[in-house]
């Protein structure tokens, strides 16, 4: 309780600061757009974002309402051209400072969240004042209401979520394409420098054999033996290249056995636990395999480990891989390129990697590839809630009644003028109502069948839409 009042006090204090910020922001906006002092704009925006960031944190701790930051991702630092200059529009700059500033200015000015923040800032002191009685009498309710108000303006909108998702996806796509291109170049280099050169050498040796075979058969025979050895070496080399592209065991046996084979070839004593009911898609398998391979060789080469464990399991539709070793730890993605390489590979599948490597060890790396496995692996298909289940069963159980006896059969009785009325409702009514009631019964029965089929079919789609669409479709 005391804590709640503490938070209320903090919020009210923040309101006083907000007033200062409002005045400062008003002055900077005036200076920016009235006097052209544009350099004041970014600091003002940053100041406002500081206040909103603090508010989001306070709301989360006080009422548990999680408000994500709605801002578009910041622009990447400008990249120099080949001549070392930085281009912005049609202008070239010597230093990256001006283009970076321009990018930032554009980023802040075009982000709608900036203006929603400003609107929130203007209204927030008023809202707080209005809420003071409630906050003091019922802090629980008051804080929750305040949280909802903040969520309205400070939370992400569908548009901002989509925008950040699009920018995330395009970044990931670029990464994936880059990685792929680098792989291709590496393979091309391997084939060019290794295999191709060896084949040329074999061809030349065979040419020499052709010249020598009549004059000096003994020398020709020696050369032939050499050519045979060279072809064996070429094959060994090719095998190495193929292993780097897609290991044969992975293609033949799948992830589990490929990792087991990897464990056997490793210098470490590796225990492998695999719990996968089916094979994931080939690209997922390859990404997981190369990640494990890289981690094991890191553990042996840099970590000084003697033992390692690899655990591959499913977590619903996600693939989870844990690799731990007993080395001396201290692994840092910033230092080596191996770990960043893994992160890049996983990023293509929205995968994440958590590294726990205190100095002195042991090192544990957990990787999770979300939603890469088919849904049905998870075991529990999206279940219908009870009320929907009951509705569907009732519909199936009763729909026949209006459609067949009360609808179609009654119509047939009426057409052929059968005297019998039995329990057919329409025939007991006065003449002018009979046909409309029959038609109504047929339509009702058909609708009930359609509903019985459509409810479960829509349920899966609804569930999917719920997961895929952002909530809070405000402006």
């Amino acid at each position: 309780m005391l804590r709640k009042y503490g938070i209320v006090l903090a919020l009210l204090t923040l309101a006083a600061y907000e007033l200062v910020v409002i005045v400062a922001a008003f002055l900077t906006v005036m200076a920016t757009f009235g006097l052209g002092m544009v350099f004041l704009f970014p600091p003002a925006v940053r100041m406002i974002r500081g206040v909103t960031g603090l508010t989001r944190k306070l709301v989360r701790t006080s009422s548990g309402i999680e408000i994500e930051a709605p801002y578009l991702p910041p622009p990447p630092p400008p990249q120099p051209q080949s001549d070392g200059m930085y281009r912005h529009g049609r202008t070239l700059y010597k230093s990256p400072r001006v283009p970076a500033w321009n990018d930032r200015w554009k980023w802040m000015l075009t982000d709608r969240a900036t203006f929603r923040d400003a609107l929130w800032l203007l209204l927030d002191p008023l809202v707080k004042v209005a809420l003071v009685p409630l906050l003091l009498l019922m802090p629980e309710r008051g804080l929750r209401l305040y949280g909802l108000w903040c969520e309205l303006l400070l939370g992400p909108t569908a548009a901002s979520r989509l925008a950040s998702q699009v920018s995330h996806l395009s970044r990931v796509r670029n990464l994936a394409v880059d990685t792929q291109a680098a792989e291709m170049r590496r393979i091309e280099r391997d084939l060019h420098d290794g295999t191709q050169a060896r084949l040329v050498a074999i061809g030349m040796t065979l040419g020499a054999v052709e010249n020598l075979v009549d004059t000096d058969p003994a020398a020709a025979k020696a050369l032939l033996a050499k050519a045979r050895d060279a072809s064996a070496e070429t094959l060994t080399e090719l095998r190495r290249v193929i292993r780097g592209i897609h290991p044969p065991v992975l293609a033949e046996r799948g992830l589990g056995d490929a990792v087991r084979a990897l464990a056997m070839d490793s210098a470490l004593k590796v225990t492998v636990e695999v719990d996968l009911p089916h094979r994931p898609e080939a690209p997922v398998e390859a990404a997981a395999y190369f990640a494990v391979s890289e981690l094991l060789s890191n553990a042996a080469r840099h970590g000084g480990a003697t033992r390692a464990t690899v655990d591959i399991s499913t977590n619903g539709p996600s693939l989870r891989i844990t690799v731990s070793d007993d080395g001396w730890g201290g692994a840092d993605p910033a230092k080596g390129s191996g770990l960043t390489g893994i992160e890049r590979r996983l990023a293509a599948f929205d995968g994440v990697m958590a590294l726990h490597s205190p100095p002195g060890g042991p090192t544990t790396v957990t990787m999770e590839l979300p939603r890469v496995l088919p849904e049905y692996w998870a075991g529990d298909l999206p279940k219908l809630p009870r009320w929907k289940m009951i509705t569907v069963v009732t519909l199936w159980a009763t729909a026949w009644c209006p459609l067949f006896p009360q609808g179609i059969v009654t119509a047939i009785f009426k057409i052929f003028g059968v005297e019998e009325k039995t329990w057919f409702l329409a025939l007991h009514l006065p003449e002018p109502y009979q046909w409309p009631v029959i038609a109504f019964m047929v339509v009702l029965g058909t609708m009930m069948y359609v509903a019985a089929v459509a409810i479960p079919a829509n349920h899966n789609r609804d569930l999917w839409m719920c997961n895929a669409t952002p909530t809070n479709l405000w402006f």
Binding site: L235, R243, E252, A261, M264, D265
Partner: protein, 216 residues
């Protein structure tokens, strides 16, 4: 002792193998190209030795290996020589797991040297083993730091390698330029260091060594 079955999906290689074997006095009773055909052939024809590619249609995964393992489960000790573009400890261990011998696992490159290849085929047909030097190297490498193996002298390691490939004392002495009695002395030393029961029978000796390496 010379009825052979060949299972290989690439026409050129299959044809080459058939010619090579016929030239060395084998009778090729069947040359098949898919996994199901291979399994049927192995079980119905019971060839004296079969040469099987790991990767076969229809799935182009490890059909050949699976067929070989399935056939040997029904007919223990059916002699099979498995060929592959790449060698894996995993597959070698699976092939050796039943401990009944008459098994080979070689890289396809070994076909280049016809004499040695035919020698390996004969060895497998006679109930022996023929393991690719690369498999043995990998097996030894992953056991390198273990206590008894680390105490072997370099010469003894050479002998162990050759022995694990499935060679007889005579063949080892030829390859390492040693007298047969010296080889016998080395093998006795190895067996003593590894704590294995000595045996005069070449095949059983090889299997003991491979089982030892496999168990680690």
């Amino acid at each position: 002792m010379n009825r052979v079955l060949v299972a290989e999906d690439l026409y050129l290689l299959r044809d080459g193998l058939v010619h090579l074997l016929q030239a060395h006095g084998f009778e090729v009773v069947a040359a098949v190209e898919t996994g199901p055909e291979l399994l049927r052939g192995l079980l119905e024809l019971r060839p004296d030795v079969s040469i099987v590619d790991v990767r076969l249609p229809p799935t182009n995964t490890d059909e050949g290996l699976q067929a070989a393992l399935a056939a040997r489960k029904q007919v223990p000790g059916l002699p099979i020589l498995v060929l592959s573009q790449h060698v894996e400890q995993l597959y070698a261990r699976e092939l050796l797991a039943d401990g009944s011998g008459a098994i080979g696992y070689l890289l396809k490159d070994r076909v280049f040297n016809a004499e040695q290849f035919v020698d390996a085929v004969r060895r497998v047909a006679g109930g022996g083993t023929a393991m690719d030097p690369e498999v043995i190297a990998k097996l030894l490498a992953s056991n390198a730091t273990h206590e008894p193996l680390a105490t072997l002298t370099p010469r003894e390691r050479d002998v162990l390698e050759a022995m694990a490939e499935g060679r007889s004392n005579a063949a080892i002495s030829q390859r390492l330029f040693l007298s047969e009695s010296a080889v016998a002395k080395h093998t006795a030393g190895i067996f003593a260091k590894l704590g294995l029961a000595p045996s005069d029978d070449d095949n059983r000796r090889v299997l003991a060594v491979l089982a030892y390496l496999n168990s680690r």
